[in-house]
């Protein structure tokens, strides 16, 4: 931190010396252009989804909502029953899955961080190996079939119980970022291993657990793969990400939604507008936690992932 501050001070001095030149103009323009390329699509979709029908069909760049704000497309999609069901499914599996994954992954990460305990080196290698080698789609499907997981809710939760990526991050956190003296002090004061874990380690790693939990939760919210592969066709279990995919690609889903709107007397909404409103609904929860996500990974927490 001191270094960057010093560099910053120094650079501000540089600017005074050299003035605002062509170099700065180029750098700033380049960065702003790329930032706009990243941000504008989301902004466009957001503005278009709240623009009234008459303005929407005219097209345009949609830099600002013109002709007032109209939430009719949101009304249309929320009247669709599979929407509400899928939001519920996604919300519950995100909460249950995140808790499970945090508990299973963090306890093993802590155990493996005690690398001097016999067997932990092997366990570590076994865990990391799964990053690079997996059974594959069909073997996994056959196994889940034998386990009775196919077409059940739990196939969207249980397979993600142990997460290798966050295992490595947490293991590094426990091995490098934890003050070892504190643990030793607790032991000297007569705390046993259980006490060290519950009274020292857990309270100290709360911020880390919250951050990793947030990332895991985003993963669960975005996951549609397990539904697509292992459930495929069971409307009561559809997660929201899958409904979004269907709205984007499945024309029967789209016509069902449009006629639903027609029954209520509104004019036939353009498919594009409904797609945009759905995209915004899927983005909303992520946007809500984004400030926290950015804070943690900009701080470099995830860089620990690469440190061996």
């Amino acid at each position: 931190m001191e270094r960057t501050a010093a560099a910053g001070r120094y650079r501000r001095g540089m600017r005074q010396r050299f003035g605002f030149n062509f170099y700065d103009v180029f750098v700033t323009l380049f960065c702003i252009t790329f930032a706009l390329v990243c941000f504008y699509p989301m902004w466009y979709v957001f503005v278009a989804s709240i623009t009234p029908y008459e303005e929407f069909v005219k097209g345009g760049l949609m830099l600002w909502p013109s002709g007032g704000v109209d939430l009719q497309y949101y009304g249309t999609i929320f009247r669709n029953s599979s929407f509400v069901t899928s939001l519920w499914i996604s919300a519950t599996k995100t909460v249950v899955g995140t808790l499970l994954s945090l508990i299973v992954t963090s306890t093993m990460a802590y155990a493996v961080s005690k690398i001097h305990v016999p067997g932990m080196k092997t366990l570590n290698v076994l865990a990391v190996f799964t990053m690079f080698f997996a059974g594959g789609l069909i073997p996994t499907y056959i196994l889940y079939l034998n386990m009775g997981l196919i077409r059940s809710y739990w196939v969207m939760v249980l397979p993600y119980g142990f997460n290798v990526t966050y295992f490595i991050i947490m293991r590094n956190y426990f091995s490098y970022s934890m003050p070892k003296d504190l643990e030793d002090a607790a032991r000297i004061d007569g705390c046993n291993e259980i006490g060290v874990f519950f009274r020292v380690l857990l309270p100290l790693s709360k911020p880390m657990l919250a951050a990793v939990g947030l990332f895991i939760a985003v993963g669960f919210w975005n996951d549609y793969y397990s539904y697509m592969m292992y459930i495929a066709n069971k409307p009561t279990l559809q997660p929201f990400a899958w409904v979004l995919r269907r709205v984007l690609t499945d024309s029967s889903m789209m016509s069902q939604m449009r006629t639903g709107a027609l029954d209520l007397g509104a004019q036939l909404p353009p498919p594009m507008a409904l797609r945009m409103a759905t995209i915004i609904c899927a983005m909303l929860p992520i946007m809500c936690v984004y400030p926290f996500l950015q804070k943690h990974f900009a701080k470099g927490m995830l860089i620990g992932a690469v440190k061996e």
Partner: protein
Amino acid sequence: MKHRSNTFASPLGPKGAGARLLATVHKYWFIYLLAVPGAVFLLLFSYAPMYGILLAFKDYKMNLGVWGSPWVGLEHYRSLFTDPSFIQAFKNTIIINVYHLLFGFSFNVFLALMINELQFRRVKGVIQTCVYLPYFLSWVIFAGLVQVFLQAPVPGDTGGVVNQIIVALGGEAIDFMKEPALFRSILVITNIIKTAGYSTIIYLAAIAGVDPTLYEAAAIDGGNRKDMLLHITFPRILPSVAVMFLLQVSQLFLSNFDQVYNLYNNFVLSTGDVLSTYIYRISLGGGAEFELSTAANLLLNVLGLIALVFSNKFVKKLDVMGIF
């Protein structure tokens, strides 16, 4: 080694292996207990499926199970290598990954250098917020954005912004998503937009570790900012760049299922079908070639491991400092 040190360590005389194990478990029982749930999940959901890899060498019969089905040797690999769509998917995977490496990777490094050169802290913060954001959206959402943006106009619906601009400038609307010649470019560009911001983090961390006195010395010697960028900042992050490059090379055979599956359609199969989508398409995604799919997946995994081992050797040879 272990055996000898243990005999020395126990003055009470040699113990049996079982007794030693019992003593260890007794001493660390809590640590082992904490490892149990993770180990069980690992075993059940990561290692148990590996048993099914046998399918790659079997003629799978549902009623006989994996073990009971008859062996067919390398039969599936023979049919795999004569399947034109497998060869096509293999080629596409490599070509697309080389494009990612050429354009995506160099863009990431360039972007990190540019963000670092930004002078105003507040502008820098806003720009970083914008460029990190797409990383957290799933590919479903992002592909939705891309499709909405590139949509060709149809009766009763306005086209996407890009086509509206093309038409307004007097050009002819292009159906981007159905054009095989454009699909790989779309993959590379959308991947840059979605992940470039995130990839800069590692380089920015490396740049933050550069000793500021180097810049001061350069300024005294009359160097301008461009010189400092080329002769101080860039050489300092080169080790990180090299490591990231090798890591990406090691993924030459991997393809991003999420991205391709959400963007492609039957019109662009010739240029867009990659190995992971091929493996899905011939099995659960409509086909019934379960053994072929498993065989392709095993081949992919083995090639990936080989690439990883090789690039890891190079990474170890580099004199890497800082964050790694």
